[in-house]
């Protein structure tokens, strides 16, 4: 569990995840069961990041949920050492990387747990993990393999 400070909604980075707030609530439900998913258009075949309600390429709303690879490698990395936004102050320092997912062109931005920035390298192998906040909201991060 990650400690949570309750902030006014408009100062809180974590998205509202329930069905009454978002059409991509399934993404968060899937995260809770350890699945890393996104939307793919059943009409034109385009895969999206972030998950969508409407395909940006053809406008279709006929989308399906597909699993993303849960491994990838560091394309570029940095860390947040100073200048944290509200709600992140106690997390400092943490590593941030562009993660090139295995077999796809997406380079998804993610926090990387379990490593110092001094030990990071471009090309380093990573795997997906989830984090759950104590208000029940969930998100994904990556961590080094091995």
């Amino acid at each position: 569990m990650t400690a949570t400070i309750r902030l006014p909604y408009l100062l809180d980075f974590y998205p509202l995840q329930e069905e009454k707030f978002t059409r991509i609530h399934q993404f968060f439900t899937n995260l809770k069961t350890g699945r890393f998913t996104t939307t793919k258009c059943r009409e034109c075949g385009k895969m999206h990041w972030q998950p969508r309600a409407v395909c940006p390429d053809c406008g279709s709303e006929n989308l399906e949920w597909v699993d993303l690879p849960k491994t990838g490698e560091v394309h570029a990395f940095t860390a947040m050492l100073l200048g944290a936004p509200m709600g992140f102050e106690k997390d400092l320092p943490f590593v941030i990387a562009l993660v090139k997912l295995d077999g796809l062109d997406f380079k998804i931005l993610s926090r990387v747990d379990g490593i110092k920035h001094e030990d990071c390298k471009i090309g380093m192998k990573l795997r997906f993990k989830t984090v759950t906040r104590d208000d029940g909201r969930v998100f994904f991060r990556f961590e080094p393999i091995g």
Binding site: Y14, Q50, T78, L81, G83, A84
Partner: protein, 390 residues
């Protein structure tokens, strides 16, 4: 399309100001009208206010009419705010340019304002981080320093750019800002001091980053035909280019080449009928040291991958191929988001008038560029200005 000119402008001092958002707007308005002797407030028919996030920094929306009242104008043709994060100021000029060119306005006032120093720094950082895709990138810790650090990490990997070369950009721009009484930072920061400053987001250190700044700036635009009614030394808009590609970082083609910048530059040079070699000086968006290095390359000032060598060889300093950021850039003068693009235009105008201090004067300059990026460098905006009519 009618030709358009800037006839004058003025600044509120940049820095940690003991003044409110509204008061900064008043100062810029006052300075602008003082600069244009033959212009009366009642002549202004339109108003464009560049402001990135007054809702966050001043808890205030609907700011354009408020600024009009604060500076004493009553627009009867067009009034609006322009928001494009770090390029909000240039956006005000671009919209005034478009309206005057199209005949919707004859005399337009642009004021850019930002008040970024608030009592609680994490609250300010929260506001800055929501410039990126907050739900999917911001939540992972992406704000400005980490994003540009990722570009630096990748540029060093792909092209061998060095830490020292990045520090040279900061040293150059801080040296220029020692000549600028409107700058937030007016002391030299030599390369060694940049390299010894606290790490913010590796490889970027404190003096690789522009400041958190309060400030405001204003300019007045009219048609090229009428410009000499107001000043002997108008500055003409010769060309323009702008390009937006993507938003969420996963959809970027590259982190070491800014493709939207290459597109914006192509259109700017085409519309101004010039090449990158025809410019006498440039104001480019050095929000971080790596940005200026990538801009040398993607604006075509040097070959791809040679931006580090360009600064190392002094090509962006006075006497080099193209002096860059003579007013001190964002690194030296600070970066009040809504004001920056307008302050850049004022520097070029004062260079064309030869009214800047001798230590930063580019002799006989006739053509200059103002460039801004915004967000995670997914948008690039360029205006090309000239001392002579197009």
């Amino acid at each position: 399309m009618r030709k358009v000119a800037i006839v004058g402008g003025g600044l509120a001092p940049f820095g940690v100001r003991q003044a409110t958002w509204k008061e900064l707007a008043q100062e810029a308005g006052g300075a602008t009208f003082r600069d244009i002797k033959n212009l009366e407030r009642k002549d202004v028919d339109s108003m464009f206010v560049g402001a990135a996030m007054p809702e966050r920094f001043a808890f205030q929306s609907h700011v354009a009419p408020m600024v009009a009242e604060q500076v004493g104008v009553t627009p009867t043709k067009v009034i609006t705010r322009t928001e494009l994060a770090c390029a909000s100021g240039q956006s005000a000029i671009r919209m005034a340019y478009a309206c005057i060119a199209a005949g919707l306005s004859d005399i337009a006032l642009c004021i850019g304002v930002e008040k970024m120093n608030i009592p609680d720094p994490p609250e300010m950082q929260t506001s800055m981080a929501c410039v990126l895709d907050r739900e999917f990138d911001g939540v992972q810790g992406a704000s400005a320093p980490p994003f540009f650090a990722l570009c630096a990490n990748r540029h060093m990997h792909d092209y061998g750019t060095t830490r020292e070369q990045m520090a040279m950009v900061s040293a150059k721009n801080h040296h220029f800002s020692t000549t600028n009484p409107f700058a937030q930072f007016q002391k030299d920061i030599p390369v060694e001091k940049v390299l010894a400053s606290p790490m913010v987001a590796p490889p970027l250190r404190l003096f690789d980053c522009s400041g958190i700044t309060d400030g405001a700036a204003g300019v007045v635009l009219t048609t090229a035909d009428r410009a000499k009614e107001f000043t002997d030394t108008p500055m003409y808009i010769l060309g323009s280019g702008q390009c937006s590609m993507g938003s969420n970082l996963a959809n970027y083609k590259s982190f070491s080449t800014w493709f939207p910048l290459k597109e914006a530059a192509k259109e700017a040079y085409r519309s101004a009928k010039i090449g990158s070699g025809d410019m006498d000086l440039a104001e480019v968006h050095d929000c971080f040291t790596i940005s200026e290095i990538m801009e040398y390359e993607d604006l075509g000032f040097c070959e791809k991958g040679k931006g580090g060598k360009f600064i190392e060889d002094g090509q962006s300093d006075l006497g080099g191929k193209i002096p860059v950021n003579t007013r001190g850039g964002l690194l030296g003068t600070g970066h009040p988001l809504g004001a920056t693009g307008i302050a850049q235009a004022i520097e070029l105008m004062q260079q064309f008038r030869s009214s800047v201090p001798r230590q930063r004067l580019v002799d006989n300059a006739e053509i200059g560029m103002a460039h801004n990026l915004s967000g995670a460098a997914n948008v690039h905006s360029i205006l090309i200005y000239g001392r002579n009519p197009p």
